[in-house]
């Protein structure tokens, strides 16, 4: 199972990197979204996907899944959500002000000659 998940993570991250290398700002944001999905899935996979009960003591099971990676992912989800929404609004504002979302046109103009 972990092998399959590692490959899925690899695909997610490849797609994310490809999107981040594109010119459109919106694609870059979508890329970061995919990247965080990949990272979260990776944390979960690396914690081990052994079968066991959900981490709720009420289940009275013998084996539980590892609760620690879940806590870490929960924190990461919230933080990446905050950053993504900030980034999205930033893109929206820069499009409003600058009239373009083409990263090539958003080049700095501090030329040294």
């Amino acid at each position: 199972m972990e092998v399959l998940m590692s490959i899925v993570v690899g695909i997610l991250i490849s797609a994310a990197v490809y999107l981040m290398l594109s010119r459109s700002l919106l694609r870059i944001i979508i890329g970061t979204g995919l990247l965080s999905h990949g990272a979260h899935l990776l944390i979960l996979t690396m914690g081990g996907l052994k079968t066991g009960a959900a981490p709720l003591l009420g289940e009275n099971a013998k084996v539980y899944v590892d609760p620690l990676p879940q806590a870490l992912i929960l924190t990461a989800i919230v933080i990446s959500f905050g950053v993504t929404s900030f980034f999205l609004v930033l893109a929206y504002r820069s499009y409003q002000e600058l009239g373009t979302d083409d990263m090539d046109q958003l080049r700095g103009n501090d030329q040294y000659e």
Binding site: V3, L34, P67, L74, R107
Partner: protein, 801 residues
Amino acid sequence: MSLLHVAILSPFLFAILVPFLYKYFRKIHTGWFVLVLPVLLFAYFTQFISSNMNGETIKQTANWIPSLGINFTAYIDGLGLLFALLITGIGALVILYSIYYLSKEKEQLNTFYVYLLMFMGAMLGVVLSDNLIVLYTFWEFTSLSSFLLIGYWYKREKSRYGAQKSMLITIFGGLLMLGGFIMLYMMTNTFSIREIIEKVPEISQHELFIPALVLILFGAFTKSAQFPFYIWLPDAMEAPTPVSAYLHSATMVKAGIYIVARFSPVFAGTPEWFWIVSAFGIFTMFWGSFNAVKQTDLKSILAFSTVSQLGMIMSMLGVGSAALAIDSIDNSVYTVATLAAVFHLINHATFKGSLFMVVGIVDHETGTRDIRKLGGLMSFMPITFTISIIGAFSMAGLPPFNGFLSKEMFFTSMIRILEMDVFNLETLGLLFPIIAWIGSIFTFIYSMVLVFKTFTGKYQPEKLEKKPHEAPIGMLISPIILASLVIIFFFFPNILAYTIIEPAMASIIPGLLGDENHFHVHIYAWHGFSIELFMTLGVIALGVLGYFFLRKWRGVYNLVPEKLALNKGYDAALYTLDKSTFKITRFYMTGFIRDYLAIIFTFFILILGTTLILTDGFSFSLKGTAPIGIYEAVLAVVMVIGTITVLFAKSRLTAIIALGSVGYSLSLFFVVFRAPDLALTQLLVETVSVALFLLCFYHLPEFKKKEKKLNFKLTNLIISLGVGAIVTLIALSANSQRVSETISTYFIENSYKLAGGKNMVNVILVDFRGFDTLFEIAVLGIAGLGIYSMIRLKVRKGEEG
């Protein structure tokens, strides 16, 4: 802090006062106030002569950074005292001269004297410091103050060029020298030169010994304008003439000589030291005098002659060092080179100082320094002419001037090389006297050019800006004093012998002290009909011929030096460095964020990939992995389809929805992998995110028409596939090599016992690891505030900044 420390630092302290004196006593030339200090210092230092004669040294320590062994240790021995007397004595004369040379009305006297005092203090610090780091500190102060003085007339382009050049070259050498000092410290664990000398037998086989030697010589050679680093000195002639006289003939350029002499007890006796110092010295001697003949500017002639004379002193120090390698009992014959070096050091300071002042007078009274415009000034300036005759004849090595004595001794020491039985000198050694002799012929020629082209020949009033007349008496005092010293030292050389020279020699070659701790330093003007005398006669004969037929053989210069012009090399190197660094920067600082990302990702791949390969880190095992269920497989396929849809989406709406589908499949994964809280959060967050995307949808730009089919770029594809592959490989390896068990058993056991909660994830979030949550809340708060302010706060055009 002792009186000695105060004396060394007094120029710095006095420099603080100078601007006030300049501002509040406008009627009096500021130089008069400044003059007091070097005179006092000179008097102060003369009192050490008698104690030094008896072989006593003075050592005073003031703590600076004791924990690092860096203390301001002032140390007076023969060598340091000789230099201190030169610095303060010539310093006083130069300041006196500058009072008449620099106009009170036209020049910024305050800055001039501040720089000059700074230089004087720095120089005193260099020669009287026993601690390497303190020495280096003062050393860089001399570079800095020299830079400021060369660029004194900063509105002239050439001044700035010369200042920059000298700065770059001397700082380059200075930094290398610091490296050498640090190596010495690594070998001996002390910064004190005294203690290093005591430890020499232990370290002479150390692997850092030779690197330290070479690095320290770099510092000495750059400062003392040895080949090929002499190129800064002719350009430093843009400084006011008093500065040239002081810094670039008598003192600063001798700092390198000082370093070589000072470190002789450490390094001398090794063949490397001998060969580097004497070979570079003798070649510099020849090259400087050869080039001096072709100069047409008086100061340039003097600059190249300084280079040549410094090379001569350097070569004598090198040859003198060989005496330490000779085991024979009576090596006092070989110490003559060291004696000659010290003696010529003094002589050079006297005659070169006076010559620079003479040139300054000519420049001041005629308005030009070009020998093609000058001539026949003898009758206008008889005193100046006399002084220059004395200086130039002494430089050429003629009797009855002190240059004769030291040149004879120079020849003696070069001839003695042939008798030395070390370092292959029986064969290669023959080159030394020959080069020395040829160099001396050129020295003779340019000395004659200097005097006779200026003062004799045809008077050309139409080419001069001013009507020439004799200089004011105040301007003449200093050169007259120096010129009389030139003659006095010839007739009474022995007033220097045991007072100054012998203690200095004792510092340079301490291992060779003869009977009763004394050297045999009696200096004679007359050696009898020895080979040296015939060499001098030959120099005079060929020199006179060379001078009279100068026009005939001048063409030689058109052939040789253009190709060997080191200045062009320096300029080209500087230009190329500038251009190529610019090019390199332009190459990777493109301004495209995509390029930077590509570079970052490429290095990510390269570094992790090579680490994986080099450490043989990849491993793959299925041990302990969970079996693949049907749900997970289906979900994985769905997720991959969603991802690919995002990639190939033609419209932004499709892309956003596909991104949402990936997020929802992730939350389904969380369900399958038994993470209810995660599934819940992911579902919510994904919903809100997609909503946000859609909210901005109408304001966000359409995908570019031409970009509709996403710009397919092979490099981007390769990079992204590479990153994905690396992540997968590392994930697989990490999964296959678990090193320790999870710590989560603790959480499972204690969630209820200690925290009273049954939902372990929530207990971890708010109880075991509550701090994470606190700051995650802070992140959300900041993001919210940021978004709010971004939308609300708008700067209208024209209001920026």
